[in-house]
């Protein structure tokens, strides 16, 4: 097994409370040793990365991506999606089940994790909560969990029936899985393609009221309150409205297991960024009002937001080159999350670097109980991102590792350039040789953490 040393860098590992110059030794896919600068004893044949002047942090964790396989390989494959992840500093990605067919079986769950997918980052499937995500019949959560699923959701097809959602929360709690809800009361969003507000009126587009999100979050919180004894965990995906965030905040104060994530586009952009029908600014939930956007920033700064997740949603170019109301929802996000978070949350809004990184690694890993991820404590997985925190660069969608180019951040200035990404001890992204493709091995099933 390979041995890799990263020397000369500044280690920042929020969950371990480390923020100091440290050298780090990675062995057999794990973190073997952390030492003061120059104090590592290098074994024979160890490969060395010189991280002088660079930050060394836990590999990033994105708990909301769409990798489109099985079935929609023309948009993205697990190989291309995880290559984009690696380029963006991510070593763990949780993949949504809205594939073709829907991932509602242990077979598909295992298929997604097979080494034949040639993934450059560890893929954690999130299985469908109900059969074919139709919101009616529950799947076998125990079987899905033992196949590797880390949560259940019907992302994109919110579970509207109270009785079904209650059952989902209870059943998931019994096997220790989280329930992720895409909160949208679809009865209120028929035919709508952006946020309901002055901009949708001006553009002549049907709008999604913010209440479509907050009503469902409130409903789910009501259900989880009833299930308090079961320790059910509700995670609100891509929170976009001030009202939904307020509901989460309130639930947390009451001691409920309710968490939430916010996507970079929701803390940076507003409905005004739709401009004149830019389909690369169309996603669901949609870009909201400035007040909602500001509430997302505040929620991140004051800690009610548990994770930054990209909702990476690749689409083929021709699918987006259509009338706005006919364009599919979603934008890519894996390659821009770190650069945007550092540029805006850290530099502009003065959030400490460690806290920004924690929202992109330790916290999301803890939220989905991804053991040994999002930390560089000795014994954890050798998932590392090495980046230059001072480097400013311009994102070019045409240079994306993703198959898709549907991003509103093309041409934006990013802060913090990934130099290397190491996944389970293997360099899966090297900015100096970014054309090279490196895959990781089969999932380390059964290998207990130290």
């Amino acid at each position: 097994m390979t041995v890799l040393a990263i020397r000369g860098g500044h280690l920042i590992d929020p969950s371990a409370g480390v923020d100091a110059p440290r050298d780090i030794l990675l062995k057999d896919g794990r973190v073997a040793e952390i030492a003061s600068p120059g104090k590592l004893k290098l074994p024979e044949g160890a490969e060395v990365l010189d991280a002088t002047g660079l930050m060394v942090a836990p590999g990033l964790v994105d708990i909301h991506v769409h990798l489109r396989e099985p079935g929609q390989g023309y948009k993205e494959t697990i190989a291309t999606g995880t290559a984009a992840a690696a380029a963006g500093g991510f070593t763990s990605v949780a993949a949504m089940p809205n594939t073709t067919p829907v991932n509602d079986t242990p077979e598909i769950t295992r298929w997604m994790q097979s080494p034949e997918r040639h993934a450059s980052a560890r893929v954690f499937p999130i299985a469908a909560a109900t059969r074919a995500s139709k919101g009616e019949v529950l799947n076998d959560y125990a079987a899905l969990k033992s196949a590797g699923a880390v949560a259940v959701t019907d992302d994109g097809h919110p579970i509207l029936k109270d009785s079904v959602m209650r059952e989902v929360l209870a059943a998931a709690a019994r096997v220790g899985l989280s329930v992720i809800q895409h909160a949208e009361d679809t009865r209120m969003t028929q035919g709508a393609s952006m946020n309901l507000g002055p901009v949708s009126f001006r553009l002549g587009l049907r709008g999604m009221p913010p209440e479509a999100e907050s009503n469902l979050v409130e409903r789910d919180i009501r259900l989880i309150t009833e299930l308090r004894e079961s320790r059910a965990h509700l995670h609100v995906a891509h929170t976009s409205t001030a009202a939904a965030l307020a509901a989460v905040r309130q639930a947390r104060r009451s001691g409920l297991r309710v968490t939430c994530e916010v996507a970079p586009h929701h803390f940076l952009l507003t409905e005004e960024h739709v401009g004149l029908y830019n389909t690369n600014a169309k996603m669901n939930p949609p870009l909201r009002s400035a007040a909602d956007r500001d509430a997302m920033i505040e929620g991140i700064l004051d800690g009610v937001v548990d994770a930054i997740a990209t909702d990476h949603a690749p689409h083929a170019t021709h699918e987006k080159e259509v009338e706005f109301e006919h364009a599919p929802n979603g934008i890519t996000g894996l390659e821009t999350a770190l650069g945007l978070s550092l540029r805006w949350l850290h530099r502009e809004w003065k959030m400490p670097l460690g806290r920004v990184l924690s929202l992109l690694s330790a916290q999301p890993a803890a939220l989905l109980n991804l053991k040994g991820r999002g930390t560089l404590a000795v014994g954890s997985f050798a998932d590392v991102v090495v980046f230059d925190p001072k480097a400013e660069w311009t994102y070019r969608a045409t240079e994306s590792k993703s198959k898709a180019k549907n991003t509103p951040f093309d041409g934006w200035t990013m802060l913090g350039k990934v130099r290397w990404t190491v996944s389970e001890g293997r360099v899966v992204y090297n900015a100096a040789q970014s054309e090279e493709r490196v895959w990781i091995d089969a999932p380390p099933v059964g290998r207990e953490l130290i």
């Binding site: 028929q190 035919g191 002055p198 553009l203 002549g204 400035a290 956007r293 021709h318 706005f324």
Partner: protein, 341 residues
């Protein structure tokens, strides 16, 4: 709210909204917002000049230039108006409509646009059921695109012909026009504002010439946030109060095809919003009564009012051909004069 959170909010300096790249082609008319007040004034002047021009001279202005009319929605009025306007300048027009077999099943708007360009079309006049379709077509073809109505969004030539009609009655002989020309004029737009591209183009154009626009209709057809669409726009739910304040009353039809499940009691609607001879005589005996058509006699307007002396409905149609001559001419000559803007 705690003071820390408030201070955070005040310091936020979020990413700016990028400037719009539209229109790509200086000849395009996608929105009334593409036109400055000076360009509106120039278009109006040119309209009058073209109208007064010897037809045989006018016929040579765009001789043999190729214009495609791409109509995804049937509209006899608008299509004929554009066709007559283009032909009276000597242009060759070709109609591609969803009713004919020309628009291939499933072919994208982008591909249809590129095909028309490859066939030699120098400008495209587009009518489409999706809001924003004209922007897509322009971005993909970079040809001059004239928006002849996109979904519920805009219908800029309708607003221009409405403006010409208003000016003829309320400011006769005024040329050129400027930001104060319609100061003191109140125009009420009444009815199904939510689904109306005519309403949107008018409410964005008329205030820039000084007019006050009153929007009037029931909540289902006129959301409160319509007043935020631009400056100079206000909502007046009381129809009679709106009529009383107006020098021009623009009646709109109910767009049953876009109601999408909305239940509307038509009898109640008539009681509240129908423009009748009685109301007109009592509240606005000198105002002009406008309607973009098609009219539903006996619903939003009585036959008597539609045919009455205050009605400008037929005049609007005549103004349409005139305005569209100037807009079509601009489409093909602006590119040449303006170069690559």
């Amino acid at each position: 709210m705690n003071p820390a959170a408030t201070s955070v909010r005040r310091q936020l300096n979020p990413p700016p909204v990028p400037a719009s790249p539209f229109p790509y082609n200086p000849g395009s008319l996608l929105s009334v917002m593409d036109l400055s007040v000076e360009s509106v004034s120039r278009l109006l002047a040119r309209t009058t000049a073209l109208e007064n021009e010897d037809p045989l001279v006018r016929d040579r202005i765009l001789a043999k230039r190729r214009i495609a009319l791409l109509f995804y929605e049937s509209s006899t009025r608008t299509r004929t108006s554009f066709e007559l306007a283009a032909k009276s300048l000597g242009a060759d027009t070709t109609l591609v409509s969803s009713l004919s077999s020309s628009i291939e099943k499933g072919e994208s708007l982008k591909d249809t646009g590129l095909t028309l360009r490859a066939l030699g079309a120098e400008a495209i006049i587009l009518r489409h059921s999706s809001s924003g379709a004209a922007w897509l077509l322009e971005a993909e073809t970079r040809l001059p695109v004239i928006n002849a109505g996109d979904g519920m969004h805009e219908h800029p030539t309708q607003a221009l012909l409405d403006l010409r009609t208003i000016l003829a009655h309320l400011r006769p002989g005024t040329a050129p026009v400027n930001a104060e020309t319609l100061a003191g004029v109140t125009v009420s737009i009444v009815g199904d504002i939510l689904h109306s591209r005519v309403a949107r183009s008018n409410m964005l154009l008329l205030p820039r010439l000084g007019a006050r626009v009153l929007l009037c209709g029931p909540k289902e057809l006129l959301p409160e946030l319509a007043a935020q669409a631009g400056p100079g726009i206000a909502i007046e739910r009381d129809f009679e109060a709106a009529v009383r304040q107006s020098q021009a009353i623009m009646m709109l039809r109910i767009q049953a095809e876009r109601l999408a499940g909305l239940q509307l009691d038509l009898e109640e609607y008539k009681t509240s919003y129908q423009l009748t001879g009685q109301r007109l005589a009592a509240l606005a005996p000198t105002a002009i009564v406008m309607h973009p058509g098609p009219i539903i006699r006996g619903l939003e307007i009585t036959a008597g009012v539609a045919d009455g002396v205050q009605s400008t409905i037929l005049e609007q149609i005549t103004n349409g051909v005139a305005i569209r001559m100037a807009v079509v001419e601009r489409a093909l000559l602006a590119a040449r004069q303006g170069g690559r803007a």
